[in-house]
């Protein structure tokens, strides 16, 4: 129960952060990615702010043997850089640029711009399913 409440609070703060920072505005995201055009730098502060917090906190957090409410840290198993990682990240970047949506903002846009979410979200889930098949 404790873990569920933490996950809920964490999700709440994450969702609020995505909206407040305007990461959920795909036009702004595309302008952020338009480095060689009319670049809008403001979203660099979203990534910058988030990474500043995780860089500082993570080193203290993982110094502990276990998390407060769980028996261990569930870290990524893979540590090697392989062609799947590069191919996957390249495809993700392509999709991110085409619409301005990454998964979190895509989900939240079901409430903001449902006309777009009704196309993006099913495609995202089908894509994830295809990726899963390819991973197996």
């Amino acid at each position: 129960m404790k873990r569920i409440i933490i996950a809920l609070i964490s999700g709440l703060i994450f969702g609020a952060g995505l909206v407040i920072s305007e990461m959920v505005n795909p036009v702004k995201v595309q302008r952020f990615l338009d480095l060689f055009g009319n670049w809008d730098s403001s979203l660099a502060f979203v990534m910058g702010g988030a990474v500043a917090v995780t860089l500082v906190t993570s080193r203290f957090i993982v110094k502990r043997k276990t998390p407060w409410f769980a028996d261990r840290f569930y870290m990524a198993v893979k540590t090697n850089i392989d062609s799947r990682l590069i191919l996957g990240a390249s495809l993700f970047g392509l999709g991110w640029g085409l619409s301005g949506y990454c998964p979190g903002p895509g989900i939240i846009n079901a409430m903001i711009n449902p006309a777009e979410a009704v196309l993006f979200l099913p495609a995202l889930i089908i894509g994830g399913w295809i990726g899963q098949r390819y991973s197996a």
Binding site: R3, I4, I6, L8, S10, G11, L12, I13, F14, G15, A16, G17, L18, V19, I20, S21, E22, L33, D34, L35, F45, G48, G49, V51, A52, V53, T54, T57, I61, V62, P67, F73, M75, T79, I81, L85, I86, G88, A89, S90, L91, F92, G93, W96, L98, S99, C102, G104, G106, I107, I112, N113, L119, F120, A123, L124, G127, G128, I130, G131
Partner: protein, 139 residues
């Protein structure tokens, strides 16, 4: 200076960082949205493995809802084909690359994981190339 400084972007980013730190410190989990979503949808999970992921996604949607309405103008009549191809590419890419902006970009870099640094540099570069091509050749 203060009018143009993106303070809301910075504040929102700090909130995202705090969210990821909370989940890691208390639950030992990575706040990676694509991974949480796919595990929930495609992998058979035990009750507790399912419920925290569900709680996170409900929170994500709820937290977004609490901050609505947004101030920006909604995009109108964006080409449906771009939205569909985008969704497919984001879905396939984040599954085989094991992460998106949150998992690799925020959590992974925070943990100084080499894989995440490479993934983030790659999807940023790919996103920039995509938008540059879109702007200059398609419109």
């Amino acid at each position: 200076m203060f009018e143009t400084f993106p303070s809301l972007a910075l504040f929102g980013g700090i909130l995202i960082g705090i969210s990821a730190a909370l989940l890691l410190a208390f639950n030992g989990r990575i706040a990676g949205i694509s991974g949480i979503l796919y595990n929930l949808l495609f992998n058979p999970l035990s009750g507790s493995e399912r419920s925290w992921r569900l709680a996170f996604l409900i929170g994500l949607i709820g937290g977004g809802y609490l901050m609505l309405p947004v101030e920006f103008e909604l995009r109108q009549s964006y080409p449906p084909i771009l939205l569909i191809v985008s969704g497919l590419a984001v879905g396939i890419g984040t599954r085989i690359g094991n992460g998106c902006t949150s998992g690799h970009g925020v959590c992974g870099i925070g943990l100084m994981a080499g894989r995440s640094l490479v993934a983030t540099a790659t999807f940023m570069a790919s996103g920039i190339i995509t938008v540059t091509i879109l702007r200059n050749f398609i419109g």
